[in-house]
């Protein structure tokens, strides 16, 4: 047996000697390794290329780790530098499970550095609902209170999209009400939250939650749906049917929790794209569609050009680091 085991061992050893040099070379070229690649570029004096690589990597992977953001902050100036530093601060806080006061301080700093924050309205139900979601997701004490300004700053800090002029991203559509959406990703404790003015919808069921606001009505009543894509292709067909039947200008609000993307068909993806929502994400070096355990939320409008909606996502994991909840908000200044 010693002979046969020795032959097998030698075979595996030889394999490893031939495998790992090529594997390291392959890993070094992996787009997910953009921080290391940028570092090498920086060391060889290629500052502009390093900056481009970091920008592209950050927007492509939304890494939930502080280092790439710190590296980026070190290379830029102006408001973007402050945002990158604050974002790195948030991610450090999250990774190190910092205290509630530290988080509040961080969000207040963000609020000070970001002009949109000042115009955030007060809306009690929405504020309470969103605060509850963040509390559950971040393990904050129950008596901890946020104002909507803090929550808007937190959304901005965590890579979410916030619009303070009522415009829904670059879709060309606007709203005169406060719209907010929150997605926890894989964490099912808090569920999703969708708020339209004073109407707050929360749900802990897994799936993609959708609220549709029909245009042209004075007080449009939202219609809420929950699509559990784990259930099969039929759900994707129903999702497509409902989204396709929405008239142009319908505002669509989307939030995901614990969803499956296996049955999220190309046709369903196309329906999301028709609301102006970008539908591609990077995971483990591959381009994939949204869903599964990503944190993902978006506010779009039917008929908007692709990629113009407000969308935020965080990966399920990025190189072993779990993603974080994301939120999007839109409000005309001081809206009720």
């Amino acid at each position: 047996m010693i002979i046969t085991w020795a032959i097998t061992g030698l075979l595996f050893l030889l394999f490893n000697l031939l495998w790992w040099p090529a594997e390291y070379r392959r890993l070094a070229a992996d787009p997910e390794r953009f921080p290391e690649q940028a570092k090498v570029l920086l060391q060889s004096g290629k500052r502009e290329e390093a900056l481009r690589m970091l920008e592209e990597g950050l927007s492509r992977f939304h890494p939930p780790a502080p280092d790439p953001w710190n590296a980026y902050a070190g290379l830029i100036r102006g408001p973007a530098k402050i945002q990158a530093s604050l974002r790195a601060g948030w991610l450090s806080w999250r990774m190190n499970r910092g205290g509630a006061d530290q988080l509040l301080e961080l969000s207040r700093k963000a609020c000070g550095a970001w002009p949109c924050c000042a115009g955030a309205p007060e809306a009690n139900e929405t504020t309470a609902g969103l605060a509850r979601c963040w509390q559950l997701a971040l393990g904050l004490p129950e008596n901890f209170s946020f104002s909507l300004r803090d929550l808007a700053a937190l959304a901005w800090l965590t890579g979410g999209r916030v619009s303070c002029d009522g415009m829904i991203g670059a879709t060309g559509f606007r709203t005169d009400r406060l719209l907010a959406v929150w997605s926890p990703g894989a964490d099912a404790r808090a569920g999703v939250l969708i708020a339209l003015g004073s109407t707050v919808y929360t749900d802990t069921r897994r799936g993609m939650h959708v609220a549709l606001l029909t245009p042209g009505l004075d007080q449009p009543t939202p219609t809420f749906y929950c699509f559990d894509f784990w259930n099969g292709e039929e759900t994707a067909r129903e999702f497509s049917r409902i989204l396709k039947s929405a008239p142009t200008g319908t505002i669509g609000i989307f939030a995901v929790t614990q969803d499956s993307r296996l049955n999220f068909s190309d046709s369903a993806e196309q329906c999301l794209a028709e609301f102006g929502i970008p539908v591609e994400a990077w995971e483990n070096g591959h381009l994939v569609s949204f869903g599964l355990r990503h944190a993902f939320c978006a506010i779009g409008a039917r008929g908007a050009p692709a990629g113009t909606a407000m969308a935020a996502w965080s990966p399920h994991t990025w190189r072993g680091t779990p993603g974080h909840p994301v939120s999007c908000m839109v409000y005309p200044e001081h809206s009720p």
Binding site: M1, T4, F15, W19, E23, R26, S260, L262, H286, G291
Partner: protein, 369 residues
């Protein structure tokens, strides 16, 4: 991920075939040199002379060679699951070699197989979705690793049980991997395709020496390795970047070994009261075909034919739209049950004939009382 074309996998099959053809005689020589031979001493052994083991090493060599060739020349073929399969496949070969030489107890083997299946889950799979046979997905939660380990260990044993006739296990795995390769190409599953193309090539290469009359056996090392690769690679089905355990297609593809294992399990349960659960017997499907009077070649070809048909059903299951998919597993189950019942009926008929001829002999006035 951009899916490589079918020609890439044809090349992989060719590489694996050539490596298996080239290395099998080397391992045969080593086995002869060190006396690692399968002696026909037990009643369940079919062969008449001592045959060298170590054929399984050729499968491992072919897989490792394909990985090295791919990572240097065609890295786009490599998926994260491939290295864990190589490392844990080596562990399985070590286990199989120990079993070939020392005849390890069944419980020890089973425990190692389950542990390796569980390790593979944590190392390379890590998802909790199970594709239901009737086409949807259930979240397995904490049961996912246990189900993955049971599946891998189950397939390993199923392939091992069929390794009783010259060319049988290698041929069945070649057919199953060819079918799974076709399904993988249709569904664009690069991780599965590379493994299946390698299994196909290495099994065909090995069959050059292992088809009746065999000059080398794969041994437990080979059978367990083939089962591990088949079970491990089919554990993960990548669709739209999502990994789920999707067992419908592989279950249909290897329905024959699975049916044989289930029947063996039932027989062993019957014997369990006498403490004989882990004791092998001579009642596997191939033994029963031989008992019906088929020669080795015909018994093997009959089983190939059955597997080929099941493979076609598996391809159908892989390509049919969701609503029609549920019909396929029912058809496969019905066909397998019908085949087993038909075999049972043939055996009964043969027994009746034998009893009748024995009665005639007893009634013969020329036989003294």
């Amino acid at each position: 991920m951009i899916f490589p074309g079918p020609l890439e996998y044809l090349l992989t099959t060719a590489v694996a075939f050539l490596v298996a053809v080239a290395t099998t005689p080397l391992f045969r020589a080593v086995a002869r040199r060190y006396g690692i031979l399968d002696h026909p001493v037990l009643p369940r052994k079919i062969h008449a002379r001592s045959v060298p083991y170590l054929g399984g090493m050729a499968f491992l060599t072919a897989y490792l060679a394909v990985l090295v060739e791919s990572i240097w020349r065609r890295p786009e073929l490599i998926a994260p699951v491939h290295y864990p399969l190589a490392a844990l496949g080596t562990v399985i070969i070590l286990l199989g070699l120990a079993d070939d030489i020392f005849d390890l107890s069944g419980i020890v083997k089973l425990l190692v197989e389950l542990a390796v299946g569980g390790l593979l889950y944590y190392w390379a799979v890590g998802e909790q979705g199970l594709a239901k046979p009737l086409h949807a997905i259930v979240d397995l939660g904490p049961f996912a690793p246990a189900i993955a380990a049971l599946w891998v260990a189950g397939v390993m044993n199923a392939i091992n049980f069929t390794d009783g006739l010259d060319g049988l296990a290698a041929g069945l795995v070649a057919i199953a991997s060819a079918m799974l390769l076709v399904v993988g190409i249709i569904n664009q599953q690069p991780a599965t395709c590379l493994v299946m193309a390698t299994l196909l090539g290495s099994c065909l290469g090995f069959l050059v020496y292992n088809f009746h009359p065999a000059s080398i056996f794969m041994g437990d090392a080979g059978a367990l390795f083939l089962g591990f690769m088949l079970g491990g690679a089919t554990l993960v089905e990548q669709q739209k970047g999502a990994a789920v355990v999707a067992l419908l297609v592989p279950v249909i593809t290897i329905a024959l070994p699975i049916a044989d294992t289930l029947l063996s399990f039932l027989r062993r349960l019957r014997r369990a009261r006498e403490g004989q659960f882990f004791h092998p017997d001579r009642e596997h499907l191939h033994h029963r075909l031989l008992a019906l009077g088929l020669n080795q070649r015909r018994a093997v070809l009959t089983m190939y034919l059955f597997s080929f048909f099941m493979g076609l059903l598996a391809i159908l299951a892989g390509v049919l739209p969701g609503r029609l998919k549920p019909a396929v597993p029912f058809a496969a189950a019905a066909f397998t049950a019908a085949a087993v019942l038909w075999l049972h009926r043939l055996e009964q008929r043969q027994r009746s004939k034998e009893q009748a001829s024995a009665t005639i002999r007893i009634d013969d006035p020329n036989i003294p009382a």
